[in-house]
Amino acid sequence: MVNDVKKRTKTASTSSPTKPPVVPLSKEEIYNNVISFEESEESRFKRDHFKECFNELNKIIEDVKALKGLKTDEAKKRIAEKRIQGSMVIVKLKKLNRLDKLRLHGHRETLQKEKLQADSNRLKLQNLIYEANHLKKEINKCFSFKSEDEDIELVPVEEFLEKAPEILKGAETIEDEHTMRKARLQFELQQRKEYSKQCKDLEKDKEDVAEKTVEVKKNLNSIYPCLQEVLKTTRPIQQILNMPFEKEWEIQKLIRLLPQPLYLAYTKLCAYSEVIDKRLSVSIEGDEEEAKIIEMERKQMKDRAASDVEDSDNEVDENDFDEGMNHRKIKRRQSQIENLKQKRLDLFKHHPLSVKFNISMKDIEETFSVILNYLPALGFITVQGKFNIDSNGSVAAADIITQERILSSLYADDFAEGSPNPKTIFQLQNVQLNPNDLDKALNEKKLGKPFKWAQNLCGISFTEHLNIDQSQKLCEETVPDLIRQIRRKLRARISLYNQIKLLENGKIKDKISVRVSCILQLFVSISYPEYCVEICTKRFVQEGIVNPNDVFYRAVITRGSAKLECYICIPSNFPSDYPIFAVDLSWNDFKYNAETSAHTREIENLINNFEVKSNEELLMEQLHRTMTSFDIFLETESSQHENPEFQQEKRHSYGFQGKERSRPYNPKRNLTLFSSGSYN
């Protein structure tokens, strides 16, 4: 290897002196040559050359070291020689170093070049990717493109093929979907143009007609004052002929404003009063204007029904939005309370019009009126009654004829407790009201009570869905019986009222034939709890024969040292059920009632179960019967004693009869002779 380097150095050194003589060269050329030469040299350069050089140099240094130890001339010579060799190696090293630098420089340059190249390629690549994406997007756009024609409703293909002109439906149109569509669109356009033309024509016609109408109306309006004038002049004639046309027209107008249930009730009641019952009068009460407004609203509501749905959707959204904000929450709560109040009001709102019917009776001055209110939100009818009777005079009797007592229990178990409508409970819960508060709420509004019969009267049923015909039928079926029932109850109650009024003042109607020796000391009304406390009433309370809806009285009858206390229950459905007496007899320090004495039991049975021909003065008769029975008991009882307290004042056939030793309580036909016998 050393040899190789030598050779190269030789050639390098030899070639440079040989060239100048051939071509005289300029400085630049020389420089260029040198550079190109060095480049060629450089291409042959290997890193090992450095190593070889160093090894050679090291060897020379070692040799010199060894030679120096010899200290001979020979050695000196050789050292000199070696020094030359060493210098040569150093020169060589220098050369190599230069070459190395050169090579490094060259490589750096190429690296730079390559880097630039790479950068530009990269740029190109990115451009391409971007372009590709863009194209993809464009493609997608194209794919998702919607033509406006898709929204257009076209005539169906069959119809198109049938009606379209021949030009539009060539053979190819039918085959190709796209052309087909184009053809159909074309056809559609034609048709629509035609239609719009027609529309315009019609609108023009309409305007013409409207103009004419306005003109006619003007004419009519000018006639109206004349007509009114005519009407005014006819009024005296109407009065003379007793034909109140105008009033009827007014009523007709009102009737149209009634809600359906009230309308039904009104018409049927009217019909009934006209044909059958002249003492029944029917009228409409309430605010006509308000009713008109409601009627208008109702019509509008119908029109707006569809748009309302959307509105409600929006509301929900708003609510959701509100929830985030705290201060809004408070506001919202307040508004909720307001809302609730409003909802409650709406729920209990009644229709401004109500139907009222008056019932009057033969021989009786007092009239009773019933007002039917309709609560559209709750969907039922409430009833108020009004009695124009002067009940101030009597405390005890007034209970009998309160409007509630007359209206309630007209039919079995109809006390109007709770709503007849099963939905009501949930409606009330919705506005956070207790279902038990219904009564209170209705009372507050002075609406009366929702009796079941009132629903029937207005053709409302909650058990089954009725169409209008069925409602009418229900209403028709209810009216006659209802009026009869009310009348029957009224009559009985008024009679009862008069009786109690008398009794309260201690007056009892004396039958001429039978003298009553005992005295009615007291007749007062008592409450249900007061009634229940007594021992003799226990059986009635336990058996559920009396209930808190009934009216209760206490009557005290005395004769000498004996006292008879009667606890009287007037059932809520009087006169269907008769008054029930519970008696308590005290005499000679003994107290007898139906549970402790068979005799008292017998008397009680007689009073509670004796047959009467009519309901007139029933209570009076019962009490009279009680008093005669009491007399007879005392008289027969004391007839057994040595020193009778009571003298026999009534004639009886036999004192006692049968195993149970019945007393002769039953008056015989001529009413002066008493006998025992069967209870009936």
């Binding site: 059986r539 068979a598 056939s653 049968g658 195993k659 030793r661 006998s675």
Partner: protein, 330 residues
């Protein structure tokens, strides 16, 4: 008042009878119904503490008039009612089937007001029926339905009649108790307890509500106190007097010599003849008008009816075991 409620509250059971087989009880009410009950079933249910509902009647028969007194002979239920009419109804397994015969008693016109057949006694050995109607006693043949004899002597209507062998005893509203011999057709003994200061009770009156005899004893009571007389050496002095607190409608000798008494209170008491109280049953109603009892090898049965819809039943004769309903609760 509704009829069913009236019945529940005011029913009076006036008379009862036990079928000759001892298996069925008949009871009649003032509403004209006759209810029958199965005694065997009732006693077995009480003994076995069975929860089966036995309180309602097995059948209810509607009598056309008001039944006042009842008795039985063979398969016939004999019913005494108003106007001296006695009817015999054929029964089968406790169910009244049809009217079989009737006897119309001939009443004198002046006694027409008190014409109801108030009590009956059947002498089954001789097949004779003794009916107390008004103030007279009629002896009828059960063989052919003819009236054989008429026993007169009381001044007011007779409350009870009861007999033993050839004797029978009657208690009347006139305040007397008479002992009759069916052979002589005359009262062999008559007593008016209200005249005896030891027995009389002024506050209740003089009337005699009930009298009964056994082989050697006679008991009677009503307004006056319950008193027992010895039959063998009969005097007007009572052998024993008992302090029953109220009026007396029923006396009877139960189970040999126990004296049962009931009446115008809710107490039904049994005394031994020496005056000791044996049992005191509280009845459902305020008065008892009828007590019947029966005894055979299998069971004993006693029932009391009166001013109540309930009939009280005892199967050991000393305390109340069950109550029966005359009318069902609805």
């Amino acid at each position: 008042m509704k009829e069913n409620i009236q019945k529940l509250l005011y029913t009076v059971v006036t008379s009862q009878a036990i079928s000759s087989s001892g298996r069925f009880l008949y009871a009649c009410s003032t509403f004209g119904d006759i209810a029958s009950y199965n005694i065997e079933k009732i006693t077995s249910c009480i003994e076995n503490v069975n929860n089966e509902d036995i309180s309602d009647p097995i059948s209810v028969f509607k009598y056309p008039d008001s039944p006042i007194s009842m008795s039985v002979h063979r398969e016939f239920l004999i019913i005494g009612s108003k106007n001296g009419l006695i009817t015999g109804y054929k029964t089968s397994s406790g169910i009244i089937q049809h009217k079989s015969w009737n006897i119309q008693l001939q009443l004198s016109p002046e006694k027409i007001d008190i014409s109801e057949v108030s009590d009956l006694w059947v002498d089954s050995e001789k097949e004779l029926l003794y009916a107390a109607c008004g103030s007279d006693i009629f002896q009828c043949s059960l063989d052919n339905g003819t009236v054989l004899n008429k026993f007169e002597g009381h001044e007011d209507f007779i409350q009870s009649i009861q007999g033993c062998e050839q004797n029978f005893v009657t208690a009347s509203s006139d305040g007397t108790v008479k002992l009759w011999d069916s052979r002589t057709k005359k009262a062999t003994f008559s007593i008016k307890p209200s005249e005896n200061k030891e027995i009389s009770r002024n506050q209740f009156g003089n009337w005699m509500g009930s009298a009964s005899i056994s082989k050697s004893w006679l008991s009677c009571g009503g307004g006056p106190k319950l008193a027992v007389f010895h039959l063998n050496q009969i005097t007007k002095q009572p052998f024993q007097v008992f302090d029953y607190p109220s009026t007396i409608h029923v006396t009877d000798f139960v189970d040999l010599d126990n004296l049962l008494v009931a009446g115008g209170s809710n107490k039904m008491i049994q005394y031994s003849l020496n005056g000791n109280m044996i049992s005191d049953i509280e009845t459902s109603g305020p008065a008892v008008y009828s007590v019947v009892w029966y005894k055979n090898q299998q069971y004993k049965f006693l029932s009391a009816g009166g001013a109540s819809n309930n009939i009280d039943v005892s199967i050991n004769l000393t305390y109340k075991d069950a109550t029966l309903n005359f009318y069902k609760k609805t």
